[in-house]
């Protein structure tokens, strides 16, 4: 104690990212209701909407023959799980600021980019874990008759690309959550944004219904960056020959490019915002 300990001269970059990400995961695991909420609700949606809309669903032209609604909806539910988990884990920024943890992080020498990346990495890990859980376990519901018998296309060889894409999309959605949460003063405000912006964004991404040729609606769907995430996931999940490219059903390369570009934009803005010293960060 009497010997002064030399602090590592170079400012640490990776260590704080991993440390802050680990904290997110530990906190999540200690709050059981969050684990249940983010996973169970989308699965219920999948079962109930799947059963309810089975009769009225008209498969899009590019779909494989005999595609049921529940099969169409499958990637959409995975994206919903990603979105819910990603976004709820960024709500913790508001709590961190209120409870004061954030000010301790902000006065440390950690680069602001590390703070952002640590938060995003933690949220993404949680989101991807839950989405993978759903993709593997969801189809097993057919045993009890709650899901149709269909081939999810998840193979051992295809699992790594799938995981990487889920990670990219999860990172992008967590960054979007960060952008919304950072300027917010209260969690109530976040819930308002959730219902007027994030839910519609998900509904209009081809998750819930295909773009088809529904005029102005199909243009909104094509302009929505999340459409490219949902479609990319759908392509990685489809068994057999690749689904044809069509309006509202872009190719995998396009999906990847758009999702990655949007992710970089979100993350850059998040880092820029975090660099500003502001009164509201102090408690």
């Amino acid at each position: 104690m009497n010997q002064p300990v030399a602090v590592t001269p170079a400012t640490p970059f990776v260590l704080p990212i991993l440390s802050l990400a680990q904290r997110e995961v530990v906190r999540f695991a200690r709050q059981r209701t969050r684990v249940i909420g983010a996973l169970i609700q989308p699965i219920l949606f999948w079962i109930l909407f799947g059963a309810g809309l089975r009769g009225s669903f008209k498969a899009p032209d590019w779909a494989t023959a005999g595609m049921t609604y529940q099969e169409y909806f499958f990637p959409g539910v995975a994206v919903m799980i990603l979105m819910f988990t990603a976004i709820f884990s960024t709500i913790s920024i508001i709590e961190d600021r209120k409870e004061g943890f954030l000010q301790g992080v902000l006065v440390s020498p950690v680069p602001r980019s590390s703070i952002v990346l640590g938060k995003l990495l933690g949220g993404t890990i949680l989101a991807v874990l839950q989405a993978v859980l759903f993709l593997l376990l969801g189809p097993l519901l057919k045993i009890v008759g709650l899901a149709p018998d269909f081939d999810t296309g998840v193979t051992l060889a295809g699992f790594i690309p799938l995981l990487l894409f889920l990670f990219l999309l999860g990172f992008s959605l967590t960054a979007l959550g960060y952008l919304i949460a950072w300027p917010m003063e209260s969690t109530q405000g976040f819930h308002a944004i959730m219902s007027v912006f994030l839910m519609p964004m998900w509904l209009l991404s081809g998750s819930f219904f295909p773009a088809g040729d529904s005029g102005w609606l199909s243009w909104i769907i094509r302009a929505n960056p999340l459409t490219y995430g949902v479609t990319g996931l759908r392509r990685l999940l489809s068994a057999g020959p690749a689904l044809p490219s069509a309006p509202g059903n872009p190719s995998l390369v396009v999906c990847l490019t758009v999702t990655a570009a949007v992710c970089i934009i979100y993350v850059s803005i998040a880092i820029w915002m975090t660099r500003q010293r502001a009164t509201r960060n102090a408690r």
Binding site: M1, N2, P4, V5, V7, T8, A10, T11, P12, L15, P16, L18, S19, L20, Q22, R23, V26, R27, R30, Q31, D96, E99, G100, F101, Q103, G104, V105, L106, V107, S108, P109, V110, P111, R277, A278, T279, N281, A282, R283
Partner: protein, 322 residues
């Protein structure tokens, strides 16, 4: 040659230099042209009522708030442009909590150490050392949210000490600490000062705590109203202090002014007076107004007297006014 030696010299005289800092929250002026220096290995106290601007200054120096006007250096580094370098040197303990309640004491300290690039064996060593110094070793597996207020404060202080900072900034560190823990904290701070040459800036609204500081600045409504060692400040009041209670203080005030040619300060329902030979004045006062005076107390000036002397009102009253 001269230009090379100058910065080092100025650094030797002041570890923290605040020059002409003002800060506004919207319309409200929280700090008004503040300037002072903190010397190396000094314990410098900022004393003042809540709302006097202490916390604002603290937030500026801890790099949390942007400087609006004026400038400041810590260890010769510019607060406006070299925030990251400053952050590695300073240890910060906030008045408001900064713990993660869902994590244990040990986990809180572990993440804190990671933020300063400390890991592995060094991390375990440092955590064990601060836990021991703050008497927290047997609490390390407790969730932070389950701790009492005083124990939480100690973990906060431990966080700020973890990376052996050269400059410590402590905002009201002893809030919620019982007298025993407060005594231990001061013992430890003085040990850090003596053995490692740590410079400490501490804010407080407690007079008895201010007595421990090498030098004090009294902050009131955003202005530094006096600066010096506790002894110098008391000496500035001059002589003895008399506090006179009366049923009709206004009448008595007028009478004292007429009879003795000195005007006491009225503070609530009592009158306050400084006099070079207090005991003589006391006798004369009682002889002159045996009926009006209900009680008189005579004493050497305290830091509270310094505050009243400079501002004209009592310490706790100033808090309510803010």
């Amino acid at each position: 040659m001269l230009s090379n030696t100058l910065p080092q010299e100025s650094q030797a005289v002041s570890r923290i230099r605040v020059s002409d800092i003002s800060h506004r929250y919207g319309e409200r002026l929280a700090l008004n042209h503040l300037s002072f220096d903190v010397r190396p290995a000094e314990i410098f106290g900022l004393l003042g009522p809540n709302g006097g601007g202490k916390t604002t200054l603290f937030r500026l120096l801890s790099t949390l708030l942007p400087l609006q006007s004026g400038n400041a250096t810590i260890a010769g580094l510019d607060l406006a442009t070299q925030a990251r370098e400053i952050r590695t040197l300073i240890g910060v303990t906030f008045q408001s909590p900064s713990l993660d309640g869902k994590l244990t004491v040990w986990e809180n300290l572990k993440h804190q150490a990671h933020l300063y690039g400390i890991s592995g064996g060094q991390l375990r060593e440092r955590i064990a050392a601060v836990l021991q110094h703050l008497g927290l070793t047997d609490r390390k597996q407790d969730l932070a949210e389950s701790l009492s207020g005083g124990l939480k404060r100690r973990v906060e202080i431990a966080k700020g000490l973890l990376h052996s900072p050269q400059v410590l900034l402590l905002d009201e560190p002893s809030t919620g600490l019982d007298p025993g823990a407060r005594h231990d904290l001061w013992k430890y701070l003085k040990q850090l000062q003596r053995e490692q040459g740590v410079t400490i800036l501490i804010t407080t609204h407690l007079m008895e705590e201010a007595e421990h500081c090498d030098r004090l600045g009294i902050l009131h409504q955003g202005e530094l109203i006096s600066l010096g060692t506790p002894d110098e400040l008391r000496a500035s009041v001059g002589g003895d202090c008399l506090t006179i209670q009366a049923e009709h203080p206004e009448t008595l005030l007028r009478q004292i002014t007429e009879n003795f040619g000195v005007t006491p300060q009225q503070v609530n329902h009592s009158l306050r007076l400084e006099h070079p030979r207090g005991h003589e004045f006391l006798k004369a006062l009682i002889d002159a107004f045996p009926e009006q005076v209900t009680s008189v107390s005579l004493g050497k000036p305290t830091l509270e007297d310094v505050f009243i002397h400079e501002t004209g009102h009592q310490f706790w009253q100033a808090e309510e006014v803010e």
